[in-house]
């Protein structure tokens, strides 16, 4: 239990990603953590005295030995697994290596080092946007996103792998975050909403649910401080129609008729452009909204920002970006 434990020793994969980098910064500031081991190909910019960086490429089989050795050396008892792509990638082969094999390598290494707790990142998108979805999906709902799409399929497999880690008595907390939005995060969603004309599906106006970046980070820290085994949806309260989100950000909606939209988006994606492959269009037609009640009741985590606040915070920062008053930090993904 967290109150009995003296001080925590934590390792993070994907430590240079948005979540990793900010989480390292948060843990650096918190006296309840005494050692942070960051595993990534580039060191996180937020590392401080407590952080030991290990240059580690999860796609290489040698990483298993390296992780096991270094985690043992630093007597790490908790692994935070964040090494996932937050936006769909054109280099699908690499994405598969990282998410599917990388998870395998990271967990094998952690098992070798005797890690007793795992906090893994997952996403509510993996439930899939299906016409048969109820308006609020609970954690018991199967992950039915399109497995033929590597972006979803690899993550679904990685999540199952992470849950299997708990089979031998380890505590496994899986946090399924809604799409993350906020002033500093950059992902496919912020690029989509940053477009002057935001493409939407003509005649459809699904309800969107987002989580504020601060809440997403707070949820991970919360999961580290409390040992709760299970899978939890992390999402802001409240939903907003896509059209309202677009208007709150101050953008035009560009409604595209269905068949045209999917063809145009796939063609654009094949040509190396666009925000996402055409499988993401489902999320512009059908609801994929989750119930965050279990996180409140069992994990004890209630988000501080509703969906609307996440949109408004993003919009405020985006307006400054539009007029070049702020630019992306160097090295941002």
């Amino acid at each position: 239990m967290s109150h009995q434990r003296s001080k925590q020793r934590v390792a993070l994969t994907g430590a240079a990603s948005f979540l990793g980098q900010n989480l390292v910064g948060l843990l650096e500031d918190d006296p309840r953590f005494e050692r942070i081991v960051s595993l990534d190909v580039t060191p996180p910019a937020t590392r401080g005295d407590k952080t030991a960086h290990v240059d580690c490429d999860l796609t290489r089989p040698q990483s298993v030995e390296l992780i096991a050795e270094r985690l043992r050396e630093h007597r790490v008892e908790t692994l935070v697994h964040l090494a996932f792509l937050s936006s769909p990638s054109h280099t699908e082969a690499y994405a598969h290596e990282l998410e599917s094999l990388g998870t395998m390598h990271a967990l094998a290494g952690a098992r070798g080092a005797g890690v007793t707790k795992l906090v893994a990142w997952s996403q509510t998108m993996l439930y899939g946007a299906l016409p048969s979805n109820p308006n609020f999906l609970t954690e018991d709902h199967p992950l039915s996103a399109r497995r033929d799409q590597p972006y979803f399929g690899d993550k679904i497999e990685a999540e199952a792998e992470a849950r299997r880690f708990g089979a031998r008595g380890a505590t496994v907390t899986v946090l399924r975050t809604a799409p993350i939005l906020g002033p500093t995060v950059r992902n496919y969603l912020t690029r989509y909403l940053a477009a002057r004309a935001v493409p939407t599906m003509m005649g459809f106006d699904p309800l969107l649910q987002l989580v504020h970046e601060v809440d997403a980070l707070a949820a991970f820290k919360h999961a580290l401080l409390r040992d709760v085994h299970g899978t939890f949806n992390i999402a802001g309260d409240g939903v907003l129609p896509l059209s309202t989100v677009v208007k709150l950000v101050g953008r035009f909606a560009l409604p595209l008729p269905g068949p045209l939209a999917s063809r145009a988006v796939s063609a654009l994606w094949m040509a190396g452009g666009g925000f996402a492959p055409s499988s993401f269009l489902d999320y512009l037609r059908f609801v994929c909204v989750v119930d965050n009640q279990r996180a409140k009741d069992v994990l004890g985590f209630a988000p501080a920002f509703p969906t609307r606040e996440a949109v408004l915070d993003f919009a405020a920062a985006q307006h400054l970006r539009d007029v070049r008053l702020i630019t992306d930090p160097v090295g941002a993904p």
Binding site: Q21, N22, G25, L26, E28, D29, A45, T46, P131, S132, P134, N135, F136, P183, T184, R196, M202, G203, F204, D205, L207, H212, E213, V214, L217, A218, G238, V239, L240, P241, S243, T244, V246, K247, L248, V249, G250, R251, F252, G258, R285, F286, F305, R308, E309, L312, D313, A316, A317, H319, D322, V323, P329, V330
Partner: protein, 322 residues
């Protein structure tokens, strides 16, 4: 940079965002901000961004920044009240009786007959309860999948208060002590031909009965007369509907003859009658699993609604004048 990234919980800018005006009308922002000087104002007026943002704000004028969890937009709905009131009072001249049978508070399930090619009955039922019920009770009606996902229609219905029909959604609504309306006939109900009017179709698999038993919610029968004649379906185009992915493509006296205008409902006289709650003969989880009890209760509700319909039709002298 590292310092900025170390402290992600920056004070949220949104705390400075003013609450929307109570009227719901978006306010236009002054170029250059409220305390900007002339140069700032001019610079902003010259940038395309300013106009885009104003356009976005104008787009918000008839919608709320906050919808409820199932997507009902209160400001948008209020902006359509005049049109709905007109339909209720002058177009359909709806007469409502038995509204006192609808509980003034707490969970309840209204079970209604489904009719009309366009699913107008849910919307008009909601209007009727808003205008005729002593406590202006608000009802959420459950729609079939094909309406929920029909382009434009589905998005509109969701903003007006429709909810996709499924057990999870209905349970959630009842748990929050809301009044829901179900049309157990489903697509068969709205897609039936004119010659089958007011003949209740099969009541699904009794899903609403199981729901009522499990959630211990009273079942209030409701008959709507007039909606069948407002868009009489003479025939269905079967093959064509399959190509379009729709359950039916209607042929009415005015559609497709007059184009989309032909789908407007005719000004028939509507009557909506609510009956006293039907006794289901049990309650709780066990009763909900008892298939015999569920089947019998479902049939009893169906018979009650059918009897109410027959009464109303016998008392009616003219389709248009009542």
């Amino acid at each position: 940079m590292s310092e900025a990234a170390q402290r992600p919980p920056a004070p949220p800018p949104s705390t400075r965002v003013p609450e929307p005006a109570p009227s719901g009308h978006a306010t236009l922002e002054r170029p250059g901000g409220d305390d900007g000087n002339l140069a700032d104002a001019a610079r902003e007026l010259l940038s395309g961004d300013y106009y885009l943002r104003q356009w976005g704000r104008l787009g918000m004028r008839n919608r709320s920044e906050e919808v409820d969890e199932f997507g009902l937009d209160p400001i948008y709905e209020r902006s359509l009240f005049p049109a709905l009131d007109f339909l209720h009072r002058s177009w359909f001249r709806t007469e409502v009786d038995g509204a006192e049978h609808v509980p003034a508070e707490g969970r309840a399930i209204l079970v209604c007959n489904h009719s009309g090619v366009m699913p107008t009955d849910g919307l008009m039922l909601r209007t009727a309860l808003r205008l005729a019920h002593p406590t202006t009770r608000e009802v959420r009606w459950l729609t079939e999948d094909f309406i929920t996902h029909l382009p434009f229609v589905g998005a509109f219905m969701t903003r007006m208060g429709a909810v996709r029909a499924c057990q999870e959604n209905a349970t959630r609504l009842l748990k929050s002590e809301q009044l829901i309306a179900v049309f157990p006939e489903g697509v068969k109900g709205i897609g039936k031909l004119f010659r089958d009017r007011y003949k209740l179709q099969r009541f699904g698999r009794g899903g609403f009965v199981r729901l009522a038993l499990r959630m211990r919610a009273p079942v209030v029968p409701c008959a709507i007369v007039g909606a069948e004649e407002s868009s009489p379906m003479l025939a269905r185009l079967e093959g064509f509907s399959r190509t379009l992915g729709l359950p039916y493509v209607p042929i009415t006296p005015t559609f497709p003859l007059l184009g989309p205008v032909g789908l407007l409902p005719a000004p028939t006289k509507w009557r909506i009658r609510f009956g006293p709650p039907v006794e289901l003969g049990g309650e709780g989880e066990d009763a909900a699993d008892d298939l015999v009890l569920v089947g019998r209760a479902s049939e009893r509700v169906r018979a009650t609604v059918q009897a109410m319909l027959d009464d109303l039709i016998q008392a009616r002298e003219s389709v248009f004048f009542g």
